[in-house]
């Protein structure tokens, strides 16, 4: 048997080369939300709308957004998203729309919709890969100047923008704003995970947003705003020591401008006082005056352990901005036709050094179907989560809350059934997702605990509403029973008193006719009182 031919390292090296960003993208598009044509359409719109909302809020502009999907052919659509945001300066436009992993949001800790800066450029690339068409961007940053018009491609090898067209144009109907057009292979379909659903849910948790949506069939839907009040501007915070992983700690040590370890700990993190910094250094057996970039890997490891053994005050929580109970109810009332609405905003809490707030809202009755499982609307930093319902911490929290106490039917370990929409919102500087596609919230016990407390609170309000309802209904039914009781009572009384039955019956029926509206009126009054209370 001849010996098998050995392969040398040199030969192996021939097959090894740098992976281009586009190749990586094509192989891993599920990570970024482009698994299938239907989802690609949603992801593209979602990234564009999220960007518009973040930009408007940062610039303190009350957002007005247009979303339009034009059918090009059966499996090809053009997505247009236009906002009244602050616009983008000329130099940044190519980088934002045609360079992957470019953005401002990745490097900072604050409550915003997008987090990785991968979104909109990934949509551009997906469009380019599936249709060959460039992305068309127009943006106006100064009301007195002209708008910029770009046609952009991405150089898939070098991850650099390729500018096909760069012009100045008139855009008189906009003071400022940005308009994105991306053509892509996609599929339009209604249902739970549709663009329609995403926009509806976005309108609920962004009651300050005025949205116009034109679907591929040319049907226009208006989502009017319920308030002109913008969400409070989120504050940026430094990372909390508990929230930093070893790799990031090493990178931070390397990149810091601080000259000593002591300064580094005190300046680059929140909640680290001089005393705490010294305590950490002592525990890690490191000199507090050491230069941060000189800290070796094993020393960084000690530092990491020391941090987690030191008691550090929880991070400030004013950097997290909830929607608020009142606005959640307004948002629900605007988009969900029900008879009873309630919401609760929990106090801030902390997981792994990251502050977060949980909010829950609930709509009940009205035109909601009563023979189905409840509808769950999940949000992270005001962004609807439409996929991976069952993997999400919200779903687990809802299923493990006992809704029977609150008047809904529920099989063990399942979502409850009934005419109910349950809304759960998590706001945090860093929302933990189960994967990069940001579709489900990870199961941190601290987060599940907060969600459950919020659910229990809205559940209790629902329960008391349902009980009042049931009681009023029963009373009405029983009031109608008078009619049925009258012949019986008349017959017994006739035997007892010797009076003729029909005489007694006629009198009672007359009395009932006079009395019934008052009796029912009484019940209705009580009923109304109950609803407004709840």
């Amino acid at each position: 048997m001849p010996a098998e031919k050995q392969i040398t390292a040199e030969e192996l090296a021939k097959g090894q080369r740098e992976i281009s960003i586009s190749e990586f993208f094509v192989k891993n598009k599920h990570l970024l939300g482009f698994d299938n044509p239907r989802k690609a359409l949603l992801t593209t719109i979602k990234e564009a709308v999220d960007n518009s909302l973040d930009a408007c809020e940062e610039a303190r502009i009350v957002p007005e957004i247009l979303v339009e999907i034009k059918t090009i052919s059966e499996d090809r659509f053009k997505v247009i998203v236009e906002d009244n945001g602050p616009g983008i300066v000329k130099e940044q436009i190519p980088n934002i729309f045609a360079k992957l992993l470019y953005g401002s949001k990745f490097h900072r800790l604050r409550c915003s919709r997008g987090q990785q800066g991968i979104g909109i450029s990934a949509s551009s690339m997906y469009g380019q890969l599936t249709t060959g068409k460039p992305s068309i961007i127009r943006s106006k940053a100064n009301p007195k100047k002209k708008a910029h018009y770009f046609e952009l491609n991405i150089d898939t090898k070098s991850n650099q923008p390729k500018i096909l067209k760069d012009e100045e144009i008139d855009w008189p109907e906009k003071k400022t704003g940005t308009r994105v057009e991306i053509e892509l292979a996609a599929k339009y379909q209604k249902g739970n995970q549709s663009v329609d659903q995403y926009l509806k849910q976005t309108a609920i948790v962004n009651p300050h947003l005025s949205l116009v949506y034109i679907n591929p069939e040319g049907v226009k839907t208006d989502f009017p705003r319920a308030t002109t009040e913008l969400p409070k501007e989120p504050k940026e915070i430094k990372p909390h020591p508990y929230g930093v992983e070893l790799g990031i700690l090493i990178k931070m040590l390397h990149d810091t401008k601080s000259k000593t370890l002591h300064h580094f700990l005190q300046n680059d993190f929140c909640r680290v006082s001089a005393k705490v910094a010294k305590e950490i250094c002592d525990k890690a057996l490191l000199d507090s005056s050491a230069r941060p970039e000189r800290i070796a890997t094993h020393e960084a490891e000690n530092l990491y352990k020391a941090i987690n053994q030191t008691k550090i005050m929880a991070p400030p929580t004013n950097c997290v901005t909830p929607i608020g109970e009142e606005l959640i109810v307004k948002g629900l009332k605007k988009e969900v036709d029900a008879e009873f609405y309630t919401a609760v905003t929990r106090s801030p809490s902390v997981y792994r050094g990251n502050p977060f707030i949980v909010e829950a809202g609930l709509a009940y009755g009205g035109s909601l179907p009563s023979d189905e499982l409840v509808k769950v609307y999940r949000f992270a930093n005001r962004v609807p989560l439409l996929y991976q319902l069952s993997a999400c911490a919200t779903t687990k929290s809802i299923a493990t809350t006992s809704w029977r106490n609150y008047g809904l039917s529920q099989s063990k370990g399942a979502l409850p059934a009934g005419p109910v929409v349950i809304l759960v919102h998590i706001a945090s500087v860093w929302v933990p997702f189960t994967s990069e596609s940001k579709e489900a919230i990870a199961h941190y016990p601290e987060i599940i605990k907060e969600i459950k407390l919020a659910l229990q609170e809205v559940g209790r309000k629902l329960g008391s509403h349902i009980r009042k309802n049931v009681k009023a209904k029963q009373q009405k039914e029983r009031a109608n029973l008078f009619e049925k009781y009258i012949p019986e009572v008349s017959s017994s009384l006739s035997k007892l008193s010797g009076e003729k039955k029909y005489i007694i019956q006629e009198c009672l029926e007359k009395k009932l006719k006079k009395e019934l509206p008052i009796l029912l009126g009484d019940i209705n009054k009580k009923d109304e009182k109950g609803t407004t209370k709840g």
Partner: protein, 364 residues
């Protein structure tokens, strides 16, 4: 119930009740029936007569009130049933009344009465409303209980000798108003909670040996028996001794016979026997006859009941009974009459009862 005996036309009384309701209806009023409240809150302990008496609280039961409608119908229905019985000169048992009233109201899934307890309660209400006793309404309870002794009575023309009725004794009817005592030869009456204990005593002819009357019912004392005890006490000056389990329910049986019951406070005068004595089982007996090894642990509900009973006004100022309750709580246990049998089957007949009675070792 002072007036009750004077009312010799019960049928007319019921008809009057009906006519009153009908006239309210004709006046286009919401017809209502006034009923004294039957609950602990409306029961007073009269220290003079030493009986429970109904207070002055009254409730109204009206037809056009969703919460009252059904009860209203039940009340007039039972009243008309009773009137019919009186009219035809027949008697019915509580069970019969239940079936006579039970039917489904057309067009609904509602029955006029669903359980006998409902119609039983309405009969008690009707007694209060009409001021007539159940017996006068021609409604009987189920008979329950046996008696034996050297007594001869006459009942509906029959002469009955309580000493010659074999192993079963005379079974006490629900209405004992019409019997007459021809001959009573006894020194006292021994009433016991348990039929099994009565059978044991009867088998040994305890009543013959000790010249007494033995009487029992199963569990709570029925009206017929309470009335029989009262008549023996009042008409023949016989002392009455109660033999019951060493538990709250035994104590309450004694309490009902002595002071009257909360539920039937309106007829206490006719039923209560203030002179009755509690023979046993007492905590002294437990110590003296070494019954601790037959203790049964008190449950949650026993403790609750014990607390309730100890707070009743008629026990509150009674030192002996308070000691008794306190000791039971300390034991955390109760015991049955039959625990005495552990000392031999004849121990109760030959030792316990004679000793207790001779020494007048009673609780009052």
């Amino acid at each position: 119930m002072k007036k009750a005996q004077q009312k010799d036309n019960p049928e007319g009384e019921l008809e009057k009740l009906g006519k009153d309701i009908v006239s309210q209806i004709k006046a286009m009023k919401n017809p209502e029936i006034t009923i004294p409240v039957r609950a602990l809150s409306n029961v007073e302990f009269n220290k003079k007569t030493k009986t429970l008496q109904l207070g002055n609280k009254e409730g109204k039961r009206s037809f056009f009130n969703v919460g009252h409608t059904k009860k209203f119908l039940q009340t007039v229905e039972v009243a008309s049933i009773s009137k019919n019985l009186l009219n035809e000169g027949k008697h019915a048992s509580l069970r019969d009344v239940f079936y006579m009233a039970k039917r489904t109201i057309p067009g609904t899934k509602v029955n006029v009465v669903d359980e006998q307890v409902e119609s039983d309660a309405v009969v008690e209400d009707l007694e209060l409303i009409s001021d007539l006793s159940r017996e006068q309404l021609n409604i009987n309870a189920n008979k329950n209980g046996s008696v034996a002794g050297r007594v001869v009575i006459e009942d509906k023309g029959d002469t009955i000798d309580w000493s010659k009725l074999g192993s079963g004794g005379w079974s006490v009817p629900s209405n004992v108003e019409d019997i007459t005592f021809k001959k009573v030869n006894a020194k006292y009456v021994l009433y016991m909670e348990k039929a099994a204990v009565w059978e044991n005593l009867h088998e040994h002819k305890f009543w013959d040996q000790h010249n007494c009357i033995i009487l029992s019912s199963q569990g709570q004392t029925t009206r017929g028996i309470r009335r029989l005890l009262q008549r023996l006490y009042q008409e023949h000056n016989l002392p009455i001794y109660v033999l019951a389990d060493y538990d709250c329910y035994g104590f309450y049986i004694y309490s009902v016979i002595k002071f009257g019951s909360i539920n039937l406070a309106h007829i206490s005068e006719k039923m209560a026997i203030p002179g009755v004595k509690f023979l046993g089982i007492t905590s002294n007996d437990i110590e003296k006859y070494d019954l601790k090894k037959h203790f049964i642990k008190l449950q949650e509900h026993d403790l609750k009941r014990l607390k309730q009973i100890s707070e009743y006004t008629w026990f509150k100022d009674n030192k002996h009974w308070q000691t008794e309750f306190k000791r039971m709580k300390e034991y955390g246990s109760k015991a049955e009459i039959q625990a005495l049998s552990s000392r031999g089957i004849s121990f109760m007949n030959n030792v316990y009862l004679p000793e207790k009675i001779k020494n007048k070792d009673f609780l009052d």
